[in-house]
Amino acid sequence: MATHPPDDIAIIGWHVSPMIRRTELTEAQMLLEVVNGATAHAGITNADVDFTCAGSCDYVAGQAFSFVQNIDAFGAWPPKRDSHVEMDGAWALYEAWVRLLVGDLDVALVTGSGRSSTADPDIVYPMEMDPYYLAPLGVDAMSFAALQARVLLDGGVVTERQMAEIAARCRRDARANPHAQVAGDFDVDALLAEDYVREPLRRHDLPPITDGACAVVIARADKARELCENPVWIRGLSHCAEIHYAGLRDLRQAESITRAAKAAGVGDAPVEVAELQTAFTHEEPLVAAALGLGADVVVNPSGGPLAANPIMATGLVRIAEAARQIRDEGRHRTLAHSTSGPCLQQNLVCVLEGE
């Protein structure tokens, strides 16, 4: 058994909720299931949790300070140290990781949650864009993605057939994922015969609209060893952002991914599996290249965001799936990627290792 310095931090438990188009549960109720599921998976109780950090979005929830009600799902009595990010739960995990590095707390619970069925994502998304030049035009996520897709198609980075093949592969792999919303066998030629939704994107190039949540428990090395026989070690974790306005960037590149990957040490040893937050098919080759992944790396065996895309939790689910590959599938070194903002503006990279 390898020894780990006390500042090493490990994932010791996680839980992913059902991924569905429209839930009847409140966001707090969705969280209740994953919080209790993750603590049970980690073999701890709420009393063992020293710090909680949630990722969610008020514009998605339709309520200011919606995360305050979500704390009810944490069993936060006696009061716990708590924080929140208006970002995907992957960034909540980043904050919790930094918080545990301080050294005075041992166990943190991290969540990501979103109920996208509450409003039309095409109306919600522009509210989060540049308020001077972009939000007044109502530029939605699909349109941003389509503009980048055309740049990649024009630049020969990807073809429409490759995009359809990526969709077919993800949906096929998703058949084995009990949390997948979209799964099955699809014929690439049949997919390519369908109409465009946002030319050059067809339905299969787009993620589903998903309600869902995820929770992950992390712990400092000594505590992780005490609580868990097979912790999944966070070997590298970093994130990086570039300028928001997509017209000012070279959309054939994703420099922030490359920088985050370098800081997280992706290239230090071979990665076997990568769970990428590529919600649009054309993003997969761009992100994989920016991460420096070889052709032998298995990408999104869960089906990825094309199989289920719970906004605000999609990135944290990638981390849970990358951890599951180590715990349940016998992998040694895996990677998770999360992204935020238009055309892959901000990116987080997490490298995980077994013993």
């Binding site: 009847e24 109720q29 944490f74 109306i123 349109s143 389509a146 055309r150 946002r198």
Partner: protein, 322 residues
């Protein structure tokens, strides 16, 4: 109960934003049917930013330069069914447009009849609105060709310093089964509670879980709550007249701790309880009215009336806050 209900609410976001020297100059130029970019190192950025995206160095309004009005499409996508937030109400394209003289692309709409009229590298020019206020939508859309369309009239008399952004989102939120059962109980003149099997705390029925133990609560945990309680806190409101305010005299809102439970009903009205007599510790009982029952409605809570019992003198009552 097998069916669920949802409630719909539209939230408006009527923002007013200050523009600063760089974006203010850009918006002012739009009223004059001109585009401004800004020098940043070797590049000209359009739309102009206040900082160099590579070095974060301040960019000065002195470095603004005129670009366009025509430009080249660098990427485009066809929006076949526009949303309510989009600038045009018929199918159109979003495009990245590099205006002549700029090194970066402006994101805007292109108005053509079909996607067949679009290609990367095509030339476009702005179609200006007749009335321009200093807003990105002063350009109605770009159209194919070299020659600007529309417009007319004069630019802004004063530099534009502010912009409006009025958005609205409609939310549809499901009413949970617990909330529906609690509402049904209210309509019968009852208060429904939920008792946590772990800590035995009792909550008002609509909540679906114990926030202390993070346990889900359902019909099997329901208990009937008392119709009597004690005031734990109160406020006297001097009504300010605003749309929807019907009160004209000072009135009380009280928090009531229901007997035998941990449930506090907040911001409750009082009945036959003079404002000057309202106090912490006063014992009160629920008053219901059935005026809507004849027309198929439910019983409704009017408020809380003093019972005449001796006050509860527990000095910690005021610390009960939820």
């Amino acid at each position: 109960m097998t069916t669920t209900r949802s409630v719909e609410a539209t939230i408006r976001f009527p923002y007013k934003r200050s523009l600063g020297p760089v974006m203010g100059a850009f918006m002012t130029a739009l009223t004059e049917q001109r585009f401004l970019g800004i020098r940043s190192g070797e590049r000209v950025l359009c739309p102009p930013r206040e900082w160099d995206p590579d070095t974060a160095a301040d960019l000065s309004a002195d470095d603004l330069v005129e670009v366009g009005p025509a430009g080249t499409v660098e990427s485009w996508t066809w929006v076949s069914s526009p949303s309510a937030a989009h600038p045009l109400d018929h199918p159109f394209a979003f495009a990245l447009i590099r205006l002549d003289g700029a090194d970066t692309a402006l994101l805007h709409a292109v108005d053509v009849a079909s996607p067949d009229a679009l290609s990367t590298g095509m030339r476009v020019a702005p179609r200006w609105k007749a009335e321009r206020v200093g807003h990105i939508t002063d350009v109605e859309a770009f159209v194919p060709g070299e020659v600007p369309q529309g417009g007319g009239g004069a630019g802004a008399e004063e530099p534009v310093t502010m912009m409006d952004y009025d958005a609205a989102i409609t939310y549809t939120t499901p009413v949970t089964r617990n909330e529906m059962r609690a509402e049904a109980a209210n309509a019968e003149g009852r208060f429904l509670g939920l008792e946590c099997p772990a800590c035995a705390r009792v909550y008002l029925g609509g909540r679906g879980f114990c926030p202390i133990d993070a346990l889900e609560l359902g019909p099997e945990h329901e208990v009937e709550l008392s119709q009597r309680g004690t005031i734990t806190n109160y406020t006297i409101i001097e009504p300010v007249q605003y749309p929807g305010q019907t009160e004209t005299e000072p009135f009380a809102r009280v928090h009531v701790l229901l007997d035998g439970s941990d449930v506090i009903l907040g911001y409750q009205p009082v009945v036959e309880f003079p404002v000057g007599d309202v106090r912490i510790g006063a014992r009160v009982a629920a008053v219901w009215n059935d005026t809507k029952v004849a027309s198929g409605g439910g019983i409704e809570l009017d408020g809380w009336i003093p019972t005449g019992e001796p006050d509860d003198t527990d000095p910690n009552l005021v610390n009960r806050i939820c």
